[in-house]
């Protein structure tokens, strides 16, 4: 979950998010080095008395500052494309869950075997129990089995919200009349929080998503109890 004054990513829960974290580290190191170089050059420019007012050409430095950024961009682009295509892989999901966005809640349908569907509303701040998270808790969590690939089909009944869970690296727009697909695989059990990520009306900030990843037998017990 997110915590106050957080700047970085949440801990990764899925392999894709781990890859994204590594890519972020890689790109951040490159950005840090470029920033250090630029800071140094600025400090040089501010502390020199040397001026050369009749420079006509500078072929060497022009070649360097064309080729070097191209190499840097290739070093960033290749891992980026690799992860981009990796995120679109489907990986034989074992379970399909549909989620429909509404104003201003999510509804979930598990219709692979029986018809199980429920709505998931945010718990208002006044009704929170001690220890619960403000603006993040919901009345019915999305219970899913851990260490299994789950297909999420995301759509909307009215406006355009977006279904997002940062620690799994998921964010998919819910578009009325369209089915968007994403796959989800959690490496550990727990509660994973997300919030609506596309402005969809006055209560856009108050329609969170909570995934409860549990071992398969607990998922089976839960789904049997919900039917």
């Amino acid at each position: 979950m997110a915590y106050p004054m957080q700047l970085g990513f949440q801990d990764a829960t899925s392999p894709i998010m781990e890859e994204l974290l590594h890519f972020h580290d890689h790109t951040l190191m490159i950005v840090f080095l470029i920033s250090s170089l630029v800071l140094y050059i600025i400090s040089l420019m501010l502390t020199t008395k040397l001026t050369h007012t009749s420079t006509m050409d500078a072929q060497e430095v022009e070649t360097i500052w064309t080729i070097l950024p191209a190499i840097i961009l290739i070093m960033i682009a290749l891992p980026s494309l690799r992860i981009l295509y990796m995120m679109d892989e489907i990986n034989n999901p074992s379970l399909t869950v549909k989620t429909m966005g509404h104003q201003w809640y999510w509804s979930y349908e598990y219709t692979d075997y029986e018809d199980l569907s429920f709505d998931s509303y945010m718990i208002p701040t006044s009704e929170l129990k001690p220890g619960e998270l403000r603006l993040l808790e919901v009345d019915n969590r999305v219970v899913l089995p851990m260490e299994m690939t789950v297909r999420m089909l995301i759509s909307s009944e009215d406006v355009l919200p977006s279904w997002a869970v940062p620690s799994l690296g998921l964010k998919t727009d819910a578009i009325p009349g369209r089915l968007n697909q994403t796959t989800l695989m959690s490496t550990r059990p727990g509660l994973f929080y997300g919030q609506c990520s596309e402005i969809c009306g006055s209560n856009h900030s108050f329609m969170p998503i909570v995934l409860e990843l549990v071992p398969l037998k607990y998922f089976e017990k839960w789904s049997a109890s919900m039917l």
Binding site: P4, F32, S35, L37, G131
Partner: protein, 152 residues
């Protein structure tokens, strides 16, 4: 009704440091807020970020790369100055040395870290399969023995 252990996993090194406010919640409240487990360092002890962006405490290999880079920068810059007595050029060599050594250490360390993670994953799956399938027809050790004997 299923109750989950909701303590936050994967706490970073900095989160093991104590924080009075979070500690008070954790000790005195029967339902401490989840943020107390994880974000006490955000309230009292922020992670140190170089130039405000690079979190050297939590990113693997970042601290080592920057330290080695600094060492390389000092060695290169000082060495150049001792050889040539040119101050400005020695500073440029120092900065260049910092960038080159940091990048080199970074890629070397990340490559080894990635190999280590793959080995850890294989070991973890191997242990899990061994425990799950021991003395069944899916036992990995049995498959290996069958493969060896069928080759004779």
């Amino acid at each position: 009704d299923l109750t989950l252990n909701t303590t936050t996993p994967n706490l970073s090194l900095s989160s093991t440091l104590s924080s009075p406010r979070a500690t008070a919640y954790l000790q005195n409240s029967s339902h401490p807020p989840l943020w107390a487990h994880k974000c006490h360092w955000a309230l009292d002890l922020k992670p140190f970020k170089l130039l405000g962006i690079l979190d050297v405490e939590n990113i693997p290999c970042a601290r080592d790369s920057v330290l080695y880079g600094s060492l390389g920068s000092v060695v290169a810059g000082l060495g150049h100055f001792l050889l040539t007595s040119r101050i400005r050029r020695s500073c440029d060599v120092g900065v260049g040395g910092f960038i080159v050594v940091t990048l080199g250490c970074w890629f070397h360390c990340r490559y080894n870290y990635a190999k280590l993670r793959i080995q850890e994953r294989l070991a973890r799956e191997g242990i899990k399969n061994k425990i799950l399938y021991e003395s069944t027809h899916l036992d990995p050790a049995r498959k290996q023995t069958n493969g060896g004997s069928s080759g004779n």
